[in-house]
């Protein structure tokens, strides 16, 4: 096991930021840490990386206690904090050399590890620029390069793709997927697609509690015999009519004649086409909307939001 977290708790005042959380991450896994803002993702990561101590509990990274022997753990962890803080007035290469020095790399090894990190993040063309001159996507890569500089066994990435444009997101995901072949990666996000694109496992955290910890396939099919579809009719129809269809759980109008409908997975599509035929209107589109983060949350947190 690469990361073992045991009964981890962080209390601010009376509020539990992380509430008796336990999980294990195997070597070489890419695990997505999923949850809304303020769920406790960052706090958990900050505790593992030694930025703040836990109120209670603890755990190990590659067998080393991250509370008692934080300095040793930091040597084998690469960490990209949320918002990716950087010294904007430093040059990319200078910054990475500084980070290499902090990580304990010495002498001639520094420029080698800087080059390697630049290679892995495709930053060579930008290495002579000031960080402040770089676009957000490149800055994020500098942040990632900084986390990689000492060739850590474990990468902890706090929202590595937030704020990037779609192309940059894809590039970033590719880099992380590539890295995940050799390293254990724990990354946090609040985007479900991100987890699907990169991760082998997903942990969902809400209000400081882990409410799911499984592979993506299992989660998407687990316990939900419901299906969400997007349907577009050729003519207007009313919500109350739609609500009469058997097995429908929730209806949401997207725009005009487009609806997002959630219902019992076994029948919903069949019933919808029967409905359309009986009303004599065509169906222009009928696609299944894979379980979004919101849906999984609804399913996992007492079905809040159903009609």
């Amino acid at each position: 096991m690469s990361i073992i977290v045991n009964n981890l708790t962080k209390v601010y005042g009376k509020q539990y930021a992380v509430n008796h959380v336990s999980f294990e991450i195997g070597t070489g896994e890419i695990v997505g840490f999923l949850g809304p803002n303020g769920a406790g993702k960052s706090t958990t990561m900050k505790i593992i990386t030694g930025y703040i101590p836990p109120t209670e509990g603890g755990g190990t990274v590659c067998g080393i206690d991250f509370v008692e022997e934080s300095i040793e753990v930091r040597k084998i962890i690469g960490y990209l904090p949320e918002h990716n803080p950087l010294y904007l007035d430093m040059y990319v290469k200078e910054y990475l050399a500084f980070m290499a020095g902090l990580a304990g790399i010495k002498g001639s090894q520094i420029s080698k590890s800087v080059d390697l990190a630049l290679d892995l993040t495709n930053l060579h063309p930008e290495k002579q620029k000031k960080i402040g001159q770089l676009s957000k996507g490149y800055r994020q890569r500098v942040g990632l390069a900084q986390a990689l500089i000492h060739n850590p066994k474990v990468l902890i990435l706090d929202e590595p793709t937030s704020g990037l444009d779609p192309n940059q997101v894809i590039e970033m995901r590719n880099v992380i997927t590539q890295l995940g072949k050799e390293k254990t990666v724990l990354l946090s996000t609040h985007i479900m697609q991100e987890v699907e694109a990169m991760c082998s496992k997903v942990m969902i955290i809400n209000q400081g509690n882990i409410i799911a910890n499984d592979t993506i396939e299992i989660l998407q099919n687990s316990g939900n015999d419901t299906l969400t579809v997007i349907v577009e009719f050729g003519a207007p129809c009313s919500k109350s009519d739609l609500a009469k269809i058997e097995g429908i759980l929730s209806i949401e109008n997207i725009s005009g004649n487009r609806w997002r409908i959630n219902g019992k997975s076994s029948h919903i599509r069949q019933h919808l086409s029967q409905f359309a035929m009986s009303k004599n209107i065509e169906i222009l589109e009928l696609t299944s909307d894979k379980n979004s983060l919101e849906d999984i949350f609804r399913n996992l947190t007492n079905h809040v939001g159903h009609i």
């Binding site: 703040i52 803080p85 010294y87 007035d89």
Partner: protein
């Protein structure tokens, strides 16, 4: 620690602050020593750097605070503190590295004034008629004093993520420890209490060393002062863990 030290020195030299501080220090001490009427060395007619050592502590209150204001507050503002403190180094190494870098920069500003000493040494009649012991004592005192200012500056910088607030806090605290406590001994109605309180101030010990006698008690006072303020800095620095 040296990694932090080197980075700080590089960023000082890459920013204008270093050059402004060195320039302003040399300009002001030079002006007071050679130019300003009434007090300059020609008017006084005494071959000594006394004038410079009298004004330098007040100039340094401002300049040292300007050097240290960014040291921690800027890391807080940028969020880079989280990067530094999750690298395999201890918090103390970060603080001491930054402190030594600030002191080194002040040294770079003070060293060129040795030229004044050389000039006065040669201008004196007869040549060399200058109290070298007292001058060297004053230099040591000034450097120790500046180091104390730097420790207070680091502490002020750790309190806030705004460098202007850090600058003002540092100047006020330094003025209190040098100027205010130094004045207490001169207030007649405070009598003995004033004299005792004065002992806690920086000026008392600075004056003592300036006479050219390096008393271990003064040196211990200065080192203790630095230790206390760097310790306080560490406590504030680690307040994230509370």
């Amino acid at each position: 620690m040296w990694v932090i030290f080197k980075k700080e020195i590089r960023s000082f030299l890459g920013s204008f602050i270093a050059y402004i501080v060195i320039g302003v220090f040399l300009l002001l001490t030079g002006l007071f020593l050679w130019m300003i009427k009434g007090n300059n060395i020609f008017d006084l007619g005494v071959a000594s750097l006394q004038v410079m050592f009298e004004v330098a502590p007040f100039i340094l209150i401002f300049l040292v605070s300007a050097i240290t204001m960014r040291s921690i507050s800027e890391e807080k503002r940028l969020g880079t503190l989280e990067i530094l403190t999750t690298k395999p180094i201890h918090d103390v190494q970060i603080i001491v590295g930054k402190f030594l870098a600030s002191v080194t920069l002040i040294l770079i500003a003070i060293v060129p004034t040795l030229f004044y000493y050389y000039a006065i040494y040669n201008l004196a009649s007869p040549v060399g008629n200058i109290d070298t012991g007292a001058t060297m004592g004053s230099y040591i005192g000034l450097i120790l004093l500046a180091a104390c200012y730097a420790s207070v500056g680091m502490f002020s910088s750790s309190l806030t993520d705004n460098q202007i607030v850090a600058l003002i806090t540092s100047m006020l605290l330094n003025f209190f420890f040098f100027g205010v406590l130094g004045m207490l001994g001169d207030i007649s109605w405070l009598t003995n209490i004033g004299k005792s309180l004065e002992w806690f101030g920086l000026e008392f010990h600075y004056d003592s060393i300036s006479r050219g006698v390096i008393d271990t008690r003064d040196v211990i006072y200065f080192l203790g002062f630095i230790f206390v303020f760097l310790g306080l800095t560490k406590i504030v620095f680690e307040s994230r863990k509370w």
